[in-house]
Subunit: 146 residues, 12 copies
């Protein structure tokens, strides 16, 4: 059975309550349910975490080295500022998919630079909850294809 | 029946033969077959074009205004240089999804700026042929959700 | 009789239907009628083209060398990206007037640089259809003044 | 009867004597006569000022708030350095047209940025005295069209 | 009774001992006493935290959503690097006041950019402990004025 | 009795009438009354000026050298363009507090650089009229503390 | 017999008539004759095209993949703006030589960046018609040396 | 008899009292005496002005057009911000010498750009009062040499 | 006995397993053993920590203020992004040596800026494990030399 | 008989031994032989120098003023840093051809700026030894054509 | 007797013959004679050198440490590129005056940055040979004033 | 026996006498003695040079190709400006260690970029004479480890 680590970055625990014009009304719980359902269908087991702490996210990735086949990550605010998460993904050496609820390229200038993208296999953004589901599909296909 | 315009930008006719280390071995014909098959399953009709001409792509988008429900586009080299295609998409006012075979953010500096992304609903890149299929799925879901 | 070449750049064929908040409700046909009417009053003959193709615009300018007295051009999206049109105008060696429907300096950053302005005699922008009419007036006055 | 404020920025009092290769041989007096004549024909009253003082220009605009229907301004050197005049125009809330004798985009780099353009309705440049006359025409048309 | 969250960013626990030439001799305890005293006078209850952890500050703001009327924050070093705290404040949707002991604009270049200011209602800096007191006054006035 | 110079920069005479969405409905007269009332309570005498002229503001500061204990200044548009006012404050050698009605860091890019801040003791912005009152309080406290 | 594709970019059809101070008096026909003569001497066959269309140039390069041994190209204005032609050359995988009539590094700033050079084997500029002849010599030598 | 205009820019009236570490203890009166004495020796008449107003300096230069043979100017703070004074000097068409008391290139970054230097014949800085005297010597020599 | 704090930044716990081409095969445990052995020889006691948390590193430095004589730190990814660690070192006021396993100046552009170097006494990089040992030697010599 | 100065810049004495992947296996001696042979055929005399000293190259150029008809130079590393060599060529006033073994535009960013190109008549790069031969051909043709 | 080192930078040996439009017709010999004459009058001894070698200029300055009272230098091309000469002057610790024949601020962009000015006491430029004489006068006055 | 080339860059001959606040009181002779002593202990022979000439340093490195096992270099001012020395080290293909007496990252902006670091194996700075000794230790260890 494929093992996938899912990481939600900072402030995503507020989803549904947070600026719905940008992020939609879906809650993190609903996203996690949808992901779990899809994973079950695809014979994959998910380990899902949300953290506001850059260091905790680095810990999670580092500790899962050798125990997972893929990483699905929405780095949220850390997309633009964290070299540490980027290094953790590179050090981890597994397939990582970066997802975003909103299209970060139609937002503020400083959000249009991702430190994570260069170490991700693929990037999906702008589809709300669907970004996660497409990301998980793609990730599992990539693992199957190996 | 939903009508979708699919546009392949410059040099994508060479796919399979062109720098396979970056773009893979899949040909444009194979991508189009896979897209058509998926469209049929989703009750959608595709109009597919490949063009090396910026103006032709602008023509295609402009002429399809009011006749299609969505646009799936891989702008290729024009991603980084075409304000005209950007304006055509904005003028068109339909849902556009931008896809790329490779992860453009792990390539040369000048490829890391997309003029198209800000007018796209969502962006998917790095999954080879799968970028197109995920993009079409997402596009059809968005149309259904309206 | 003075001969004037009028060129409308990419996406201007969509005028009236395209983002009316920025570009107004006037159609290209109405602009052309108004220009033709003014030209007749001023004893000038107009050759009017709209093209989405950078190369076609370069062709048009190059071929009219020696056959026209002035150029009235709204380069639209190519304003910001086309060295080829700039070179064609310089090579042509006739008087060119650059017009824009909207005030490009109150829009996005990337629209605030014109590659065409340095080779234009004058620039008029922000007056909708009236930009064209003022431009034609000014162009004809310049030709008369020679 | 429409009331229009006309402002000539710094060094324009030297017109005719100042670098004729760039600014032409027409004097400010001649420009003012031509403007006045055109205004009369269009049933408009002009209040015309020339000032080398940024503060004086700000005063003039501020004091005319509610007393004029439009502003025709050649900010000259203050085009590139005055946030105060920009703020005065925005605070004034009337229609402003920016004009220049020369095409500032074919001159030095530092002249290719206008702080005034973003708060102007339209911009006209490169036609010498004619820039003013076209500007006044356009301004009066805009007022009539309201 | 109004409830206010007070957050002291990284290294502020060292206050009084840390570079007194820049930050003064007042300790964090003294600042907290003064704030508490002022709050009591103004019928407000304070919840005060100091943290060196970006994630902890994000946690604190996220958890207080809906439970406080205002936020008084000295983001210290995170002023210049934290998109996560910025997003937390925006997601929180309450009134935030940013304060600094020193005038950050008379210090190093990299300290002259605040990622937090754009989501703060107001900013006060340069008055040492007094920055906090003025900030709390202003915050309470703003809440009262609603 | 402490003597304080209060300077209102360009366009602040239009307050109340000028873009109320940004600057509020309070008039300069009301601000001056509130300041005077507060000054009286704090045993301070105010000399209040509004000027649209950079040079006049430089004159005022230069002439008050040695005759005042503090300067409260809202440099408005000159915040971003005046080295002369900056030099006057530095030459003056008295305590200066910079205030702004709006939070300039949540506005246009070019407003996010203050030439004045590096020579001000402290900066307060975003609180409307209250910015002035907090500034005066802080200024008087600083003078008392000497 | 070696097969060489020769491409002349935009506005080169105007050669001889276009700004002779920069580009000289030689016509494109004369250049083509000289090239053909040299080719004959070197036992090579030339296919020569001039186009003002970026897309057409991309088409030409793409279609000649596998049918030619070398490309001699003067990309003219597209030198500075075309990622599509660059990608076509890279996709083509044959030896390309970039030539320019004038020395582009002694001209305007924006002409001093070539998007094509990084994918060209060699670059020759500044020798007028001779740039082409030297380029063809070098190209044929490179092919012979393989 | 040669006629020379001498202009002292903003804050120079405070000389002797203003930051003596940078500007020295000499007063403006002493500088003017020394200049007058030197002028007398060289058979030249000086018209000396100090102004804090950019507009006034522009007025002075404009009005002296045709009445003076040379300009000796210390633009002080306006060195870095005034296009209007630059334009006035260019419009004036007489020989201008720019002088500074301090070496502006060993000071803050923003002081290391002079808008005036490109229109000055020569520049002298860093010698305190002596900068003026050397400047006047050089100016008179230049006039004599014509 | 000298007390030294040793801090290993994010992802260094993965050493030996992480991208060995860049970071070598040595593990953190081996580095710590070597450091401890050297410390013993030099009569120094080490307190060694590894953390992926910026806040934790700030805590560690802050708490050791007054209890240690020197800091040996490999800030890893936080080298390029942490103002908080920089401020902690400055606030701490003890001698800090920055070390890196790899030569960060021969890597990606964004790794070529260290926020920590300006507050470090010295910097050593590129020698793998040896960077630490040289750093400790130098640190102890500096302490002895005081 | 035409006299030509040939200058090889720094490190070119190591050719053949130096990074053959970039610079090829040909030695400087072989290049010089080939150049001499070609010169003889073209009735030209060569003076050939290699120097690692910027000053020596400046000396050589300066001393040959009036004694040579042309300069063939590979400035190597000084291409990117030497204003002195540029000034020497300009001062010399003879025809200079700049050559490079490798295509400097497909190398590091800092090698993509040539200080020499703007004063060279033409530039040839990317052809290894052949760059020199083509350069000499072109140079002699230019001299003959005068 | 005062001892002064005079250094002429690269290409100044060509003076009189080199681009007279920029540098005038005076030769270096004439400048040296004029300087020597002035020195004699002022009871100073000059040691005059011209060198095209950056290293030689550094040698000269370093060796004269403690043996001269002042340095008069025209660094010519090295003005813009030599940190070594800058460091030599700073290391030397004597008074240095930088002179230029032409006004470097009215020339190319890259000539508008001087690496030497920040370590010079004063700068004089634009007066041809007179720049040197004014510089020597000023230098001797500064030495006398000590 | 290992052979090591030691190069001291410009102005280092003045050590001890040159700005002791930055560079300390140690002389170059003392550094060389200490290096020689350490080398003897490590069974290595040193060839030590100091030069103010960029070209001489390039010569030294080029000539020692194949005759030394390692290079210890303090490029001093040439750190920031010499592509030629960088190329010499790369061409040389031996292990190079870059050392600096001071921490260049806590000095002026322009000193914070090293052209040499990318071709150095390791970098050590900020430890005065000790930087050299640590560098030699590290260099010899690296050679032994091969």
């Amino acid at each position: 059975m494929k093992k996938i680590l899912v990481i939600h970055g900072p402030n995503l625990d507020l989803l549904g309550k947070r600026e719905p014009a940008i992020y939609g009304k879906v809650t993190l719980k609903e996203i996690n349910s949808a992901l779990t359902k899809l994973a079950r269908k695809r014979k994959a087991a998910l380990k899902i975490f949300q953290s506001n702490h850059e260091g905790e996210i680095v810990d999670l990735i580092g500790k899962s080295k050798g125990k997972i086949q893929g990483l699905l990550i929405n780095p949220a605010a850390y997309t633009h500022t964290s070299v540490a998460i980027r290094d953790a993904i590179a050090a981890c050496g597994i397939i990582a998919i970066e997802v975003h609820l909103s299209n970060i390229y139609s937002r503020e200038e400083f959000r249009q630079k991702s430190l994570i993208s260069p170490v991700a296999k693929g990037v999906i953004m702008g589809f709300g909850m669907k970004s996660y589901l497409l990301g998980l599909e793609a990730l599992l296909d990539l693992i199957d294809a190996k």
